[in-house]
């Protein structure tokens, strides 16, 4: 069963990095709707899209999947993440 590993980073509090805040989760691709699966695939297929934005303190989602070529990781803004994925993370203190 293929899994997505998801980490939410950034935000006002600076989740991830040196902080004591983590927001992580994982989910099976099979549990996503067909449409969400296609969205995920489109996000991974996208290349070099980074237009200037005025959003500050927003969250990013680091999403990783394993393919025959190795582990692929993307970092995408919360706005483009299907809610089924954004809901899978759990905030915790570390």
């Amino acid at each position: 069963m293929s899994k997505l590993h998801v980490e939410r980073i950034g935000g006002l509090a600076g989740f991830g990095g040196r902080s004591h805040l983590r927001s992580r989760g994982e989910l099976d691709l099979e549990t996503l709707s067909a449409e969400d699966n296609r969205t995920v695939e489109s996000l991974f297929q996208s290349q070099g899209i980074a237009e200037p934005s005025q959003v500050r303190d927003g969250f990013l989602y680091r999403i990783a999947r394993t393919t025959p070529e190795g582990v692929e990781t993307i970092e995408v803004p919360e706005a483009v993440v299907p809610s089924a994925i954004s809901r899978c993370v759990k905030d915790e203190l570390v």
């Binding site: 935000g11 509090a13 004591h20 996208s46 959003v55 803004p77």
Partner: protein, 365 residues
């Protein structure tokens, strides 16, 4: 690890790409929207939604960019005329997302007296931040042209964040464990609103050194606003960021704030930061690298004494707003500009310039 793509600097607004695409603050890249609108793997309904959104997004981006350009131009061309006819305070509006993720949500009528304490607080604090900028620095709202202050509250569910989306502030309720209601932090509200001020002045980008400066400016003026509300001098101030939004779970672990400007690396910070420029590296989260200029401001303000907004604050404000956009500004350039302005703004008080110089030198800049 193979990293194929980075859609950095594009965060937040709607969680879920197919959520309501009707709000006027999209930040999904237009290229993504257009590609999805042509993606035959998606349903016809979804493709149409993306196409419609892409059309609207283009117009909205143009409006926002035009507004920023106009406000910057107005500051250059019209200051004396504007001063002759002082405008009233900006409109302040609060919207309720009702735990959804569509912005701005529904308007809260009479937020100033709302029984929803979050709505009332968002209104009162945003109004006070506008007063802070007007009374201390002569600034007319976020864009110095009377821009309405819009806040959305109760965003998403147990949402541990607050953010500025380029047009408005947005606040989560917190999960009740790590964080509580983000509107409870007056410094948080000052921080978010200051992102708007930065957008309409230096226009600092949001990665590497300018990103760290961008975050620092928001912490500096967020803390300064908190001190101004309490009429504190620099020795009474707590210099903490996020003290009032810490939840019981975080407090039980000894975390009393997000960041501490007086001791950025302290163990009581949920997000400890570097204190010297030698610790900086490109790619660092702006909320981390901001510790360096935060520490410099703290040191300068402490050395000058009295109220932080009287001298150090004026130097930082003039550095932020006095010379037009400079999105790629490095920390050393910002530091040198404060050194220069400390001398020109306070020519009869060389101790101010010395304090600023010593503060930056102490952090390695």
């Amino acid at each position: 690890m193979k990293t194929r793509q980075n859609l950095n600097n594009r965060p937040d607004m709607l969680s879920g790409i197919f959520h309501s695409c009707l709000c006027p603050c999209f930040i999904i890249p237009s290229k993504v929207l257009k590609r999805f609108s042509r993606d035959r793997k998606l349903s016809a309904k979804a493709r149409k939604a993306f196409a419609d959104t892409a059309r609207f997004e283009k117009e909205w981006r143009e409006v926002r960019a035009a507004r920023t350009r106009l406000s910057l131009m107005a500051q250059k061309v019209l200051p004396s005329q504007l001063a002759a006819a002082p405008p009233g305070p900006p409109a302040v509006m609060v919207f309720n997302c009702h735990n959804g993720t569509t912005l701005p949500g529904t308007l809260v009528p009479k937020a100033k007296t709302s029984s929803d304490t979050t709505a009332k607080r968002a209104f009162v604090e945003a109004t006070d931040v506008a007063k802070f900028y007007k009374e201390l620095f002569g600034r007319n709202s976020i864009d110095n042209a009377g821009m309405a202050l819009i806040s959305s509250i109760h965003f998403s569910v147990r949402y541990n964040n607050a953010f500025w989306n380029g047009s408005q502030m947005t606040y989560g309720d917190g999960d009740g464990n790590i964080f509580i209601d983000f509107t409870k932090g007056n410094d948080v509200i000052g921080h978010e609103l200051t992102h708007g001020v930065t957008q309409h002045s230096l226009g600092l980008s949001y990665s590497n050194q300018p990103g760290g400066l961008n975050e620092s400016v928001s912490d500096v003026f967020g803390s300064m606003f908190r001190q101004w509300q309490a009429n504190e001098d620099v020795t009474n101030a707590d210099w903490l960021i996020g003290k009032d939004i810490m939840g019981p779970g975080a407090l039980a672990r000894g975390y009393t704030c997000l960041r501490d400007m007086s001791n950025p690396a302290a163990a009581h910070c949920l997000s400890p930061q570097p204190t010297k420029f030698s610790q900086y590296h490109d790619g660092m989260d702006p909320h981390e690298s901001s510790g360096i200029p935060n520490f410099a401001f703290y040191k300068a303000a402490m050395a000058i004494g009295d109220k932080s907004w009287k001298k150090a604050g004026k130097v930082w404000y003039e550095t932020l707003t006095g010379s037009g956009p400079n999105p790629n500004m490095k920390m050393s350039a910002f530091a040198n500009r404060t050194r220069s302005l400390a001398g020109s703004l306070f020519p009869s008080e060389p101790a101010v310039k010395t304090a600023v110089d010593v503060a930056w030198t102490a952090v390695g800049l």
